[in-house]
């Protein structure tokens, strides 16, 4: 196939079409809408596969495809085009997005069966796919920005899908706002690029980093990092992810686990050339990554809401990726690799969680689960495999990717290397702990089911096939993807032309690190088993240590925001409203009033007595004469 590049637009067009049709289609599509959406998502996956095969058929350094659609905003030196660039990196994402995306569409068909607004839900899902694909396919930062905000919009719509719940509406708003802060970084980055290079297309910018000053590049890097933090829920902009779980579970799986939140990793990897030339920025990146992977893990340990616990783990896993991406060429490939494997097992886990909730009348509190393995075996198995994968059980996907990242972290060398590596190891242990906790509280132990709002006990049952099928597929992914990708370093080689790669050498050998990782994992599992496996889980959460309570509140980050931003903002706006009314407006009204007063006083002179008038005239005449004489005098 010689002109495959023309297919690229199709990738975006298919789901976009779906979104338009479904959102404008009206009620007549209510019956078939979800299938339309799923079909179009699938179609775009098929296209992706075609392009993938096409790409494999080419030599490693000539695999990038370009497609220029039209000139978007041409103003003077500012030339923004709608043009696509499909290289190995984008290809990886495209496959992940469309693949997992299609699966989750399929899953949602079952999950949203009883929701009268299912058509709109699929419309939003398609919109999200389109935006996400635009994000990874764009050949310049401005178009990427469009996709960037597009996914933000989609996630806003989907988190707030159940708008009648105030909590959902608030969560959606919060997500969008926090993301906007990040977006500010991205748009500023684009401005800096334009001022520095006169362009913001990937090629020219990334190729000419050499000639720009390091200060500029550092600034660029930090701005891009800010953007990444917003989208990927990294400290300090992580607060929205937990609340985002208000959305339907498939949303949490697709957007807030598998794809959207990884956009930050994509951005940093894509802009590798900039970070490589700006060590300070890189340091910032790894710091953020390390902090977040611990932060998320700790939060994950404290949550009783199964989805929130998983959300915490998402944060932490993306922390790993950011960390890796921050390590430079050593880490890019592994960041992406972990991203892919994580896409599989985390999506699987979420779908599992959704399936559990489906069976438990939408109960999310794990303390009210327990002993479910007998009632929903498929869910149990697939969820279990995902669990093993995420804690990095040797041989499963997570093991390969995470192990490599920890190794790379140590390879950073010096104290930094030790700190980062240590953090990563610790993170692995905690991950094992909280995931085991989730596993035990949900599927083992005795039943702690509570009657729901309507007062009836849940009757856990296995979910319909449309839901289990995707879970099974994803489970396969979580088991084998890692091994497949690291087979003869195939994935690294695949990405190398884009991201570059070099073998860092860790202070202690790879074998040692692997052992350490496994040890950490075992330790975490063991602790969790002692805590939750051996003794019964209380249905009401114990008070817990200070750390626990803090962790339950997302380590007080929201409280901080509330005090500083929300309260402060309210005060500011209220005082400004006052200022506007009484000061800015007051001045003008005051002037008018003063004229009125003056007028009132002056008209008193007009007292109706002819003689007063005569006096005034006489005085006027006197002044007139005096003035005239004075004029002559001076």
């Amino acid at each position: 196939m010689d002109n495959a590049e023309n297919l690229i637009a199709l990738l975006v067009a298919a789901p976009l079409l779906g979104a338009v049709v479904l959102l404008l289609g009206g009620r007549r599509l209510d019956r078939t809408g979800h299938w339309v959406g799923t079909a179009l998502a699938g179609a775009s996956f098929v296209v992706a596969v075609v392009l993938f095969t096409e790409m494999l058929g080419r030599p490693g350094d000539d695999r990038t495809l370009y497609q220029h659609l039209f000139s978007w905003i041409p103003v003077g030196g500012f030339q923004a085009d709608v043009a696509f660039q499909l290289d190995q990196l984008s290809m990886t994402f495209v496959l992940l997005i469309t693949g997992v995306g299609s699966l989750i569409h399929l899953y949602s068909v079952g999950y949203m069966e009883h929701d009268e607004r299912r058509r709109r839900f699929f419309g939003y899902l398609n919109l999200f796919l389109a935006a996400m694909l635009l994000l990874v396919l764009a050949d310049n930062y401005l178009l990427l920005y469009v996709g960037w905000e597009g996914v933000g919009l989609a996630s806003y719509l989907l988190i707030g899908f159940w708008q009648h719940k105030p909590s959902a509406a608030t969560a959606a708003k919060k997500a969008f706002l926090v993301n906007r802060v990040g977006d500010m970084g991205l748009s500023l980055a684009i401005m800096v690029m334009f001022t520095t290079f006169g362009t913001f297309a990937f090629g020219p910018v990334l190729d000419s980093t050499g000639s720009a000053s390091e200060g500029t590049l550092t600034a660029l890097g930090l701005l891009l990092l800010l953007a990444a933090c917003g989208k990927s829920a990294q400290v300090p902009l992580q607060s929205w992810l937990g609340d985002a779980m208000e959305g339907p579970t498939p949303v949490s799986a697709l957007i807030h686990a598998a794809t959207m939140v990884t956009a930050g990793v994509y951005l940093i990897t894509r802009s590798g050339a900039i970070f490589d030339a700006a060590p300070a920025a890189q340091l910032a990146v790894v710091t953020v990554g390390a902090v977040t992977l611990l932060f998320g893990a700790i939060v994950g340990c404290a949550k009783d809401d199964i989805k929130k616990a998983l959300a915490g783990s998402t944060m932490s896993q993306i922390g790993y990726m950011i960390l890796a991406a921050g390590l430079g060429p050593v880490g890019y490939a592994f960041a992406i690799m972990h991203l892919v494997t994580h896409g599989f097992f985390k999506a699987g886990l979420f779908l599992g969680a959704g399936s559990v909730m489906h069976g438990m009348n939408d109960e999310v509190d794990m303390r009210r689960y327990g002993g479910l393995r007998r009632y929903m075996p498929i869910t149990f198995v697939t969820f279990g495999l995902g669990y093993l994968a995420i804690i990095g059980f040797p041989g499963l996907s997570g093991f390969f990717s995470k192990d490599k990242i920890i190794e790379a972290a140590f390879a950073k060398g010096g104290t930094e290397g030790w700190i980062l590596g240590g953090a990563a190891l610790l993170g692995a242990a905690i991950t094992a702990f909280y995931m085991t906790r989730v596993m035990l509280m949900t599927f083992f132990g005795e039943k702690r089911w509570q009657p729901d709002a309507k007062g009836e006990l849940p009757h856990p049952h296995e979910s319909p096939r449309t839901m289990t099928a995707p879970m099974i597929v994803l489970a396969f992914g979580s088991v084998f993807a890692g091994g497949l990708l690291s087979w003869h370093e195939s994935f690294v080689k695949w990405l190398e032309p884009v991201t570059g790669f070099d073998h860092g050498h860790a202070p202690l050998g790879a074998a040692a690190i692997t052992t350490a990782t496994v040890a950490a994992m075992v330790l975490g599992v063991a602790l969790a088993y002692l805590q939750y496996g051996r003794r019964p889980v209380p249905a009401t959460p114990p008070r817990g240590s200070l750390l626990t309570r803090a962790a339950r509140r997302d380590l007080l980050q929201d409280d901080l925001n509330h005090v500083v931003l929300v309260r402060g903002g309210e005060h500011l706006t209220r005082s400004l409203v006052y200022v506007d009314h009484s000061l800015v407006d007051g001045v003008v009204n005051g002037t008018a009033a003063s004229f009125g007063g003056l007028s009132g006083r002056l008209r008193k002179l007009q007292n109706g007595y002819a003689r007063t008038y005569a006096v005034t005239m006489f005085g006027g005449a006197a002044v007139l004469i005096a003035a005239t004489l004075l004029m002559r005098a001076v």
Partner: protein, 542 residues
């Protein structure tokens, strides 16, 4: 001497206004249709103008020039550049929707209907009472709208300073009657209170703009004393080739005189306080007319007259003006967050947006100025969409207070959807038209004044804040009792909103037609002010 297209584009609505006003009292519907047809005809003429205009050609095209008041050195001179064409098109596009949206706003209602909009209780509020007065509110309403359209279009076309000034002032009068005479029927408190509020708003509007205009008059006279005529082209040319020398102080004073008037109109902080009152008290269509059409004359005039006539002074004043623009951006946005009244919120949002426009104009870069021009157009469309939908909502519930709403989305999904799109346009979401212009303005400013650009970028976060808060409080959450029965958008209302949204999306995805028209004009302006875009620091490897 070909067909006077520009004159026709202004004359048609003017005659239409007279004809509409002449429609007998009983035939309200006829008047409405007449007005609508006239506005559509104007739209057609505007389309012809846009087609006949060659982007690459002369700076001012389709020019007309006739002697008028020789004694004042005034000629009837018309001509359009790309910027004018864009704004004329905007005006011609919006007016039909405004008329359609205001279709029933000016009917004398039996119930409490403030101002000229109808007779109020106590003074024979019944239709009979309305008949007893010979006043014909409906005819007047649409006639006034058309007359405003005529003056606005002509002021975009005028290349004679005096002619422009006359229109700039004269258009206040119909606007004044529209604001003060046809108030929003949804108001808190008694009719008397509402009437007082309304006439306060109207008077405030008129006085602010009149004072601005009179100060401009002094400057206009001064300009005549200095230049001896009023022809924009001649003066600009004379300034360019140095045959017309202006002492720095004189030029600055004149510039300030002009700028003050435009800043009031725009409106720029701290001259903005008339806008929230005017938009809050008037009906939604009139509010749109104010902020989307009439105020654009101010920013347009900054671009054409301030920069064209007083380049040095413009450069001299730039720092201060940028400062004011920044304040407007942040201040307007923050105040929008603090509002309880939907329409006032949108008004403050507009103030913030006008800050962006002014900033782009005085950033003195192609991106900034093209961005500003696009911004004028896009802001017009997006505000129209948002404000008109808000108006539909308000007319249903009879309240402007945000707190009186909740869960509308569940009752009237289409209304909520259109409202959301309008809001997303206001927060300039990529893919919708305003994003293009806002980003251009930001980039254009950043390349020359990085700090200003950075601060202004805060505006996009704040915009998201007030828009989403508004949407959340009104549309989402549990359904309020009073809201439960609200009907969804009717056909007429859909006809109004849908094309606007379509435009927003189209211009967001493919703004090239607009930029192609605007860019050459901006190049001219840049050469007027003798400015060049700053070069990139490093030559990017292609």
């Amino acid at each position: 001497m070909s067909f006077p297209l520009l004159t026709a584009a202004a004359a048609l609505p003017a005659l239409g206004a007279i004809a509409t006003a002449a429609v007998p009292a009983g035939r309200r519907t006829a008047a409405k249709w007449l007005a609508l047809l006239v506005s559509l005809g104007t739209l057609a003429l505007a389309a012809v103008i846009a087609v006949r205009f060659e982007p690459g050609g002369e700076r001012y095209q389709l020019t007309e020039s006739h002697a008028w008041i020789a004694d004042f050195g005034v000629r009837y001179e018309l001509g359009v550049d790309g910027i004018a064409v864009a704004l004329i098109a905007l005006t011609a596009v919006l007016i039909p929707f405004i008329i359609l949206a205001g279709w029933n706003d000016a009917d004398p209602a039996p119930d409490a209907a403030p101002g000229l909009g109808g007779a109020a209780p106590g003074s024979g509020g019944t239709p009979a009472g309305a008949k007893h007065y010979r006043w014909r509110p409906t005819q007047g309403f649409f006639a006034l709208i058309l007359s405003v359209e005529a003056m606005v279009i002509l002021s975009f076309e005028a290349t004679d300073v005096f002619l422009f000034y006359i229109l700039f002032e004269a258009m206040l009068i119909p606007m004044y009657f529209l604001i003060g005479g046809f108030g929003d029927r949804a108001h808190a408190g008694s009719d008397e209170h509402a009437a007082a509020q309304r006439s306060y708003a109207a008077v405030k509007f008129l006085l602010y703009n009149l004072v601005g205009g009179l100060i401009m008059l002094a400057a206009v006279i001064g300009l005549y004393v200095v230049a001896g005529n009023f022809s924009l082209t001649e003066i600009a040319a004379a300034r360019a080739d140095g045959t017309l020398e202006m002492a720095a102080t004189i030029e600055r004073l004149l510039f300030l005189g002009f700028f003050f008037a435009f800043a009031v109109k725009a409106p720029l902080w701290p001259l903005h306080t008339w806008l929230p009152n005017a938009m809050g008290e008037s009906t939604a269509p009139v509010a749109v007319l104010i902020t989307a059409v009439v105020d654009k004359v101010g920013t347009f005039a900054m671009l054409r007259f301030c920069l064209g006539l007083f380049p040095e002074a413009s450069a001299w004043a730039t720092p201060v003006i940028l400062g004011l623009a920044l304040v407007s951006i942040v201040y307007g946005a923050l105040l929008a967050v603090g509002q309880r009244d939907i329409k006032r919120l949108i008004a403050y949002a507009s103030i913030s947006h006008f800050g962006f426009i002014v900033m782009g104009i005085f950033a003195m870069t192609t991106q900034g100025q093209s961005g500003s021009t696009l911004y004028m157009v896009n802001h017009g469309i997006s505000t129209a969409a948002l404000m008109l939908v808000a108006g539909f909502l308000i007319s249903r519930r009879g309240s402007r207070l945000i707190a009186d709403y909740g869960g509308v989305q569940k009752v009237a999904p289409v209304l909520a959807g259109t409202f959301l799109i309008g809001g997303l346009a206001t927060l300039s979401l990529p893919g919708l038209a305003p994003f293009v212009s806002e980003f251009l303005v930001l980039v254009g400013t950043f390349t020359r004044y990085p700090v200003v650009g950075v601060i202004a970028t805060l505006g996009i976060v704040l915009a998201a804040l007030y828009t989403l808060v508004l949407y959340q409080r009104t549309m989402t959450g549990p359904v309020k009792e009073e809201v439960r029965t609200l009907p969804d958008l009717r056909l007429r209302e859909l006809v109004v909103v849908t094309p606007l949204i379509a435009l927003l999306i189209f211009l967001g995805v493919y703004p090239k037609p607009l930029t192609d028209i605007v860019n050459p004009a901006v190049e001219h302006t840049m050469s007027d002010v003798r400015q060049k875009d700053p070069r990139p620091e490093v030559e990017a490897a292609q």
